[in-house]
């Protein structure tokens, strides 16, 4: 019975058999590959990286990236290859330029706005506590 249970648990790994594992020339190449595919967006499943996605396009792009790594291209060249074809959206970290300035600055702007509101409220409450004519609550 225990062997059957073990077999059933092992069968859960079956889907992994459908994906041929990629073969890397070196640990460094594998590290670069993993870093790159994590930084690049899958355009079919747009909330997943190329590393995570099962889409056929992601599979093809992973193979393409590996081929480019093998051919000696730099990370920048590989990213440029993809951006030339798919646009800046394929990068999880888009370049800072005109049309992405708002994307990069909005979190900072919101933080500043929030801090301003909090600061304003603190000052207002401070003023209310000490009273308009300088008397503290008694």
């Amino acid at each position: 019975m225990k062997r059957l249970a073990l077999l059933l648990w092992l069968l859960l790994a079956w889907p992994l058999a459908a994906q041929e594992p990629l073969v890397f020339d070196s640990a460094d190449q594998q590290a670069r590959f993993e870093q790159l595919t994590r930084e690049l967006r899958c355009l079919v499943c747009q909330n997943q990286s190329l590393s995570d996605s099962d889409a056929p396009l992601a599979h093809d792009l992973r193979e393409e990236i590996l081929a480019m790594l093998r051919a000696g291209h730099s990370d920048e060249e590989i990213k440029r290859f993809l951006v030339d074809r798919y646009g800046d959206f394929v990068l999880y970290r888009p370049p800072v330029k005109g049309n992405t300035l708002l994307l990069w600055l909005t979190p900072l702007l919101l933080l500043a706005a929030g801090a301003a509101v909090v600061g304003f409220n603190i000052r207002r409450r401070g003023a209310l506590l000490t009273g308009e004519d300088g008397d503290s609550a008694s």
């Binding site: 079919v44 393409e64 074809r85 646009g87």
Partner: protein, 178 residues
């Protein structure tokens, strides 16, 4: 001011969300970086004559529409009547680029649904579709007589898009030539 502030924030947020909802369909359609650039070079076999190789230079001199399609693409069936209508009008050459598909499946699909295209090209492994930045199906590219991509549409073509984006541009190109 503090009484109306929550209401104001709510109204602004509602407006933002409404804007987002209205654009939900097109949000995943990315602008193509290929607009204005030369059509990517390729050399692919014709679907019905595998020994004949086709390259973009073969089409220089007149505008044409490259339609990326596949037999597994359900939306392509939805788009098909629009392509048929465009082909019937004879106003622009339509080239079918069958990608990530088996030739037998592609031929069977055309047999079943009809073949309005002027020419069929096979991109079996989808490598050329990557050069075009194709990530969905169908996708259509309008190319001008000098071989530059002037318009791209992701998803099924509609009569509106054909009239306002494709034929309008084709007419403008033809007017410039004459």
């Amino acid at each position: 001011m503090s009484r109306t502030l929550p209401l104001t924030i709510f109204v602004l947020l509602a407006a933002l969300l409404a804007f987002g909802l209205r654009n939900a369909d097109t949000k995943t359609q990315l602008p193509s970086p290929l607009i204005g650039k030369a059509v990517p070079a390729f050399r692919l076999p014709a679907l019905f004559e595998p020994q004949r190789m086709v390259a973009p230079d073969d089409f220089l001199g007149e505008p044409y529409l490259v339609n990326f399609w596949a037999s597994w693409c359900v939306t392509c069936r939805v788009e098909h009547p629009v392509i048929e209508q465009l082909a019937r009008s004879g106003r622009v050459k339509i080239i079918g680029l069958n990608f990530r598909d088996a030739p037998e499946d592609a031929k069977a699909w055309l047999q079943r649904f009809g073949d309005p295209y002027d020419l069929h090209i096979s991109d079996l492994d989808g490598r050329v579709s990557i050069d075009f930045g194709v990530y969905a199906a169908p996708e259509s590219f309008l190319v001008d007589p000098s071989g530059r991509i002037v318009f791209k549409h992701l998803g099924a073509l509609t009569p509106d898009i054909v009239a306002n984006e494709i034929l309008a541009r084709v007419d403008a190109m033809r007017a410039k030539d004459s």
